[in-house]
Symmetry: C2
Subunit: 137 residues, 2 copies
C-alpha cells in the first residue's frame, strides 16, 4: 500500500503521515525500487492507535510515549500508563476550570448589557473593562 492509499484508508493527509514518521510516531516503512513508501497492516494499526489517542485528547508527544510503552509492554507497568492518563486528565481539568471562569465572566458581562442598537456610550461591558470594580471578584 502506498502513502496515498493508506492516508485515504485512515482519513489523514499524506503530509500528516510523513510528519508522524518524522516525529517517530509511525514506523518508517520499507521502500520499493523507486523509493516509494510501502505500508502494511502494522502501520494502519499504528495510525488507528494515534487516532484514538488523539480523540481522547493526548498530544502527539504524549502519544509517542504511549506508543513506545505499547511497543515494549514488558518493560513498562500499568502504573506508568495510568499515571500518564491521570496526569493528562488533570491538565484537561485545569484548562476546563479556566475556560469556565471565562464563561462565567462573559455571561455576567453579557447579562448586564442592554444589547440595543443605541450608541455604546453607556455600555456596561465597556465600563466593566475600563473600571477596576467592573467585574465581581
Amino acid at each position: 500500500m502506498r502513502i496515498g492509499e493508506l492516508a485515504k484508508q485512515v482519513d489523514m493527509s499524506t503530509d500528516a503521515l510523513r510528519y508522524y514518521e518524522q516525529q517517530g510516531l509511525l514506523s518508517a516503512p520499507l521502500r520499493n525500487a523507486s523509493g516509494y513508501r510501502q505500508y502494511g497492516r502494522k502501520h494502519m494499526a499504528q495510525l488507528r492507535f494515534i487516532r484514538r489517542a488523539k480523540d481522547v485528547g493526548f498530544s502527539l508527544e504524549e502519544i509517542a510515549e504511549l506508543l513506545k510503552i505499547n511497543f515494549e509492554k514488558e518493560q513498562h507497568s500499568c502504573q506508568e500508563v495510568k499515571d500518564l492518563t491521570l496526569k493528562k486528565r488533570e491538565l484537561v481539568a485545569e484548562r476546563i476550570a479556566e475556560l469556565q471562569r471565562f464563561h462565567a465572566s462573559l455571561s455576567q458581562l453579557a447579562e448586564q448589557c442592554c444589547g440595543s442598537s443605541a450608541p455604546a456610550q453607556h455600555c456596561s461591558i465597556l465600563t466593566a473593562l475600563e473600571d477596576i470594580d467592573g467585574l465581581t471578584q
Copy 2:
C-alpha cells in the same frame, strides 16, 4: 514614565508593551529627546483594559476591536459589544464541551486500568487504544 516603570506598574514585560503598540492595542506614546517612550495615565488605563479583557478570555485581536469601539463609542452600539461577548462565550463553550469529552474518556480509561506496577501486557488502556471497540461510543 518610561517603559520599564510602566511595565512594572501593570506587571507586564516591556516586550509585551512594545508588542501591544505594534499590534495597535496600545497608543504610540510621545518620545523624549533620546527617543525613549514617555507614557502617561492614558496608557496605563489602556493596559488595564487589555488586562481585564484578557482575564475574561478575549484574544488580543478581539481586544483590539473592543478598544476601537471603546475609543469611538458614539459610532458603535451596545449590540455590537454584546454580540462580541456572546460570540466569544459560544467559542469558549464549544471548547469546554470538547475538553469535557476528553475528560470523560480519560476517566473511563483510567478507571479500567489496575495501575499496578506489574508489566503492562494486559493494560486495558493500551488495549482500548489498540482495539476498535476499546472505548464506548
